[in-house]
Amino acid sequence: MGRKQGNMTMAMASEAPKDGFRLSMLIYDTRFRSFTIQVIVLLLVLLGIGWLVDNTIANLAAKDKDINFGFLWNRAGYDIEQQLIPYTNDSTHGRAAIIGLLNTLVVAFWGCIFATVIGVFVGVLRLSKNWLVGRLMTVYVEAFRNVPLLLWIIVVFVVTSETAPQPKDFKVTAEMVQTGAEPAAQKILFNTIAITNRGWNIPGPLFERPLPTVHLGSVPLNLTFLAIIAAVVGSFVANRRVLRHARLVQEDTGIRPVTWWKSLLILIAPIVILLVALGFHLDIPAFPADENGVSKGFNFQGGILVQHSFSALLIALSLYTGAFIAEAVRAGVMAISRGQTEAAYALGLRPGRTMNLIILPQALRVIIPPLISQYLNLTKNTSLGIAVSYLDLRGTLGGITLNQTGRELECMLLMMLTYLIISLIISSLMNAFNSAVKLKER
């Protein structure tokens, strides 16, 4: 049957010019068939879209609704605990959506960083010759890859929020001062972080002599942060110049000038000087105490209170995505053939330099594409914050705003578009990076 048809098609192809156009050629002649199919598909798609639009209009009319984005400028009327820019419940729904978007981005940003650190660390350790370490890392990777992310988020949230002590357990009472007893709960990590049932009290940055905040129109510009960013970026640029100069000298004379102390100085000195000049110190959360050391008040003062919803989401996302990144890293390093290592040893390179100069640059090219998709997955998975009531984009725009205004179509449309744009931006950034480090072929 198949062969007969094949012959038929070939015969048609050679005879077709002689015959005139017949209707059956629309299906059986390969020159016209793709045209026919596309026209049919186009018609079907248009019909489908028309049907959906028609239904939507009918449904909207039946519910006495319209499509209108005006609600974005109405008063939101709900509070958001974690806000990166000023917001009160008098602000608009639009501003609430932006707060939500920023909350999504901040989890995604820190999550990507932590997940990469964990992933690279675990991926390399899993390749170690140490039997015990290898097994432990395998257990970690398999445990996190084969259990739903939602479970990790909920478990971390429930365990930290339900088992953590109350703030009053950290208080030192007059009785304790007399008897020398310790309070029921202690801060961790050198007495800097207090985990209570309300959240994580972590140290915050504090400047004694901050630069003023300038208003550029209605946009407030915090000069302190701008100065710090400028100092960091400036020292990185300067360091690159030093390294480029060193490379030029090496290419000219064959001797590479010693640069490590210059680099260290350029990278560290400016930021340290700036921070000292601004009077930077950490604001450690603590109870206000009187002269005897007896605590006053009901809660910690100073520092930053991080909500359990944020910390649980961040920890679970980092550990979960870290397991996937570890697999990508391991696969990338294993993809480099053994001959590369042997060739490097034959050239007399030490193991450390072999890793840095030969294996890693090649492995990086294999690692980056899966890494991109893991970053994208992590960003999309931040929407699981719904399980712990984290008010991200889905919680504000697609949650409370949607329920309050009843504008499902508009809210869902805006939310999907925003996620789509974030995904496209991340993937285009990482693709640009990928093509920059890609092996340049003919």
Partner: protein, 477 residues
């Protein structure tokens, strides 16, 4: 010559038995030196790891071993376990049926169990290389099914009937394994009927539509060819489903045999996860293949549509798709249509997974050497023949790891349906359990239980994919 021999004091005439290697180079000490204490960094890592393992065991093992299995509330658990504390597994013992079946009627548990067992029978011709292995698997499943039914179901006739059915299927798989394909083809209808109940004539009438399609195809294909035959057959079947089926079900719907109907909101736990997961996995693979082919097509319109669909789906989180299923479909469908929430969720999860599968298969297609396509053309195969006989078998083989990890991701993502009000095992059921006054404040045990089951299923799937990869490996490198 003999002189020299006599002068030499001693010449050994037989071989010495080889010395044992030094004590540090043999046995367990060698293994320890090489694997745990090679160099100071390695030794430090070993000691740190030992410390971690020790701390983990020290905090978890007593709790684990001191578990309480018989209690009616968390308070009672704590009293029994005493001051050192212990796990309260009694909650699992009390509520396991909700974790497995949700609110499915207790006297009908045999239906999901039978559907689950039949799933393996239906999968046997698809999954298992070596037909004897398939038969062995079916035998094991049959024994387990009958055992669990004997424990759970108090109606002896059910157990006996199902035992007979499983025995027949086992005999078929042993004698004529290829016949099991019919079980595979019928399985979706049987499973639907078993799970949701109702009159048997409803799935039969639906099945008749496929009969119509095949019949029309057989009639038309000799005259008008494959393409027209398929198209007209499909249209005839659609006509049947839209206009004729309703009449048939209306006429026969009240006639026996039938099973008691079960509503979708009674589904829950792992039963729900399996219904959504298995359906979506089965349907997403063919759709994904079509999307991947569409994305590589020469036809501009098809390519644009495929790319747009895939990139849109991959750019938004699954949760937004699920909310679309629960909130927005009511706008897009004709007024007064009201179809099942589980079905809506299954459709959107399927589309979601299909976009990811499409990308995985596109990778497999791109990895095939161009020569394979050219060879297929040179043999005179048309597009679908080339795809079926040359391209897809190779491309799918390359994509197995990616496809299976997408399936694992899909199965894990079935837990997200709790956000649209379905009772998934992880959040839906556990919330109900934790809201019970007897079990208020319990957190580790339910999550460990659910997590272990998910781990076993997903880990099993990934091991199976590795086995399949090995089995299908044909290159001789």
């Amino acid at each position: 010559m003999s002189d020299t021999r006599a002068e030499t004091a001693f010449i050994r005439t037989e071989m010495l038995a080889p010395e044992l290697p030094p004590v540090t180079e043999r046995g367990i000490i060698k293994w320890l030196r090489e694997n745990l204490f090679a160099g100071w960094l390695n030794s430090a890592l070993t000691i740190v790891s030992l410390l971690v393992v020790f701390l983990l065991l020290k905090s978890a093992l007593p709790w684990w071993l001191n578990g309480v299995w018989n209690a009616t509330s968390l308070g009672e658990c704590r009293t029994i376990a005493g001051p050192e504390g212990g796990a309260c597994w009694a909650v699992i013992k009390a509520r396991w049926h909700q974790y497995i079946f949700g609110f499915y009627p207790q006297d009908a548990y045999w239906r999901p169990i039978l559907a689950f067992a039949l799933m393996f029978v239906a999968l046997a011709p698809v999954l298992y290389y070596g037909l004897r292995n398939g038969a062995k698997l079916i035998g094991t499943v049959a024994v387990l099914t009958v055992l669990s039914l004997a424990l759970l179901d108090h109606d002896v006739t059910h157990v006996v009937l199902i035992a007979v059915l499983m025995a027949v299927l086992f005999a078929v798989s042993w004698i004529a394994p290829k016949r099991l394909v019919y079980v595979t083809l019928l399985y979706p209808f049987v499973a639907f009927w078993l799970l949701w109940g109702g009159s048997v004539w409803k799935p039969v009438a639906t099945l008749l539509g496929f009969g119509v399609m095949v019949l029309v195809y057989r009639l038309i294909q000799p005259r008008l060819g494959v393409i027209m035959g398929t198209a007209i057959g499909f249209l005839a079947a659609c006509f049947y489903w839209l206009f004729v089926q309703g009449i048939i079900t209306g006429a026969l719907g009240s006639l026996p045999p039938g099973l008691a109907g079960v509503n979708s909101d009674q589904f829950g736990g792992f039963l729900l996860a399996f219904v959504i997961g298995v359906t979506a996995i089965t349907c997403s693979l063919p759709i994904g293949i079509l999307l991947a082919l569409g994305r590589r097509s020469d036809m501009v319109l098809i390519k644009t549509l495929s790319v747009g669909f895939i990139e849109f789906i991959r750019g938004v989180p699954l949760i937004t798709m699920l909310f679309t299923a629960s909130l927005l479909l009511q706008y897009f469908l004709p007024p007064q249509t009201n179809f099942d929430l589980i079905l809506r969720v299954v459709i959107l999860v399927t589309l979601f997974a299909a976009a990811y599968i499409a990308e995985v298969i596109r990778g497999g297609l791109a990895a095939l050497p161009r020569g394979q396509y050219e060879a297929a053309d040179a043999l005179g195969l048309d597009y679908w023949q080339a795809q079926r006989l040359i391209i897809m078998p190779q491309a799918l083989k390359i994509s197995i790891p990616g496809i299976v990890s997408t399936f694992i991701g899909l199965f894990k993502d079935t837990t997200l349906v709790s956000f649209v009000g379905l009772l998934d095992p992880l959040r839906g059921v556990t919330q109900i359990v934790r809201a019970d006054i007897n079990w208020k404040g319990i957190y580790w045990e339910p999550y460990i239980f659910v997590g272990v089951i998910f781990f076993l299923i997903c880990f099993g799937m990934s091991r199976y994919s590795m086995y399949l990869e090995q089995k299908l490996k044909t290159d001789h490198r």
